[in-house]
Symmetry: C2
Subunit: 203 residues, 2 copies
């Protein structure tokens, strides 16, 4: 890049826009908010609620979730342990790119393995990864069974289903734990915003 610029016009390389420059203009810090938890725990609902609140505060935001990742970027991945790892790796890298662009990136995936989440944390960088454990017991998620997946999993029709036939590793050092069995979405959303304020991410 630097040499390439030399070959044309040295002033051009100065055009590169850093995350810091974007953050000064935006008035907030761009971070990854990583929602993790069982299927049906409410990750995506909460992420979209937080996004709306941040958007209305003037922030630029984006939610990465199954709807926009599984049928696009990660459509060539299945649900084996290796594919789940690659799934989360790509999501972590894309979330990081979004923060480089000055966006508050939220991810809403089960992301059951601690090691995979910790890699995403390392990619995001120091102080830029807010892990939110959307806690909810298998019993309650199964009672909700919003997509009918628990029923299918119990019938053996969905192999390697997290919480039933595949493990979920709880976060050890999440920045926030919300319990959607007892807290409403409003309350959970307010608690996420509280963490962002405490950490000086938003004003």
């Amino acid at each position: 890049m630097l040499e390439e610029v030399k070959s044309t016009n040295i002033t051009w390389h100065a055009g590169d826009i850093t995350r810091e420059e974007r953050e000064r203009r935006n008035g907030y810090k761009s971070v990854v908010i990583w929602f993790t938890g069982l299927s049906g725990s409410g990750k995506s609902t909460l992420a979209h609620a937080v996004e709306r609140a941040l958007y209305d505060l003037g922030c630029h935001t984006f939610v990465l979730d199954g709807d926009n990742i599984r049928h696009g970027l990660n459509k060539n991945l299945g649900f084996s342990p290796a594919d789940r790892e690659e799934n989360i790796r790509r999501i972590g890298e894309v979330a990081k790119l979004f923060t480089d662009a000055g966006i508050i990136a939220m991810t809403a995936f089960i992301s059951p393995y601690r090691a995979d989440r910790d890699k995403a944390r390392a990619v995001a960088g120091d102080g830029r990864f807010i892990e939110v454990y959307v806690k909810c017991s298998v019993a309650v998620c199964e009672q909700r069974d919003v997509k009918g997946l628990y029923k299918k999993a119990r019938a053996g029709l969905v192999p390697e289903f997290t919480g039933i036939s595949a493990p979920y590793e709880e976060p050890l050092h999440a920045e926030l734990i919300v319990d959607t069995a007892v807290e409403g979405v409003d309350e959970c959303m307010a608690r996420v915003l509280g963490v962002l304020r405490e950490r000086g991410i938003i004003g």
Copy 2:
């Protein structure tokens, strides 16, 4: 998603923010500007010049290039035809996500295969893909040889090097062709902005 919301609070789903809502607030359309051309043609330099100009106009922008993709999202890909295809596929999908977030996404990759670029165009959607062919002869790129890669390729040290030992398929219907052998970066940048204005992407 919809059912998940039903299980908690139906008003939450309304929180989803569409690209159209973002565009109304931003005052510009989010598109992919896809720079394609040989190594050393000036794609990345031009993309960063366009980014600076758009940023100074108040747009939210991001450049995807080798610097931020090859060592991150696509670090598990090499340079075989299959890996090049997957490389460009992922970049096309990520660029689309950026436009969904209201960002003008620029990509600066050789992207030598027409079919791969056309897939990225299809992913971006109608009227949201501006293909800029950064034209420059192999002779001129080789003379610049900013990274010393042509020299290595001629010595047989870089297999499948586009323009030397691997094909480059010129765009048939690029929205813009710039010739960096005769036009300066200023001039090329102004022509890209001209195309964006003509198409009502920026005001």
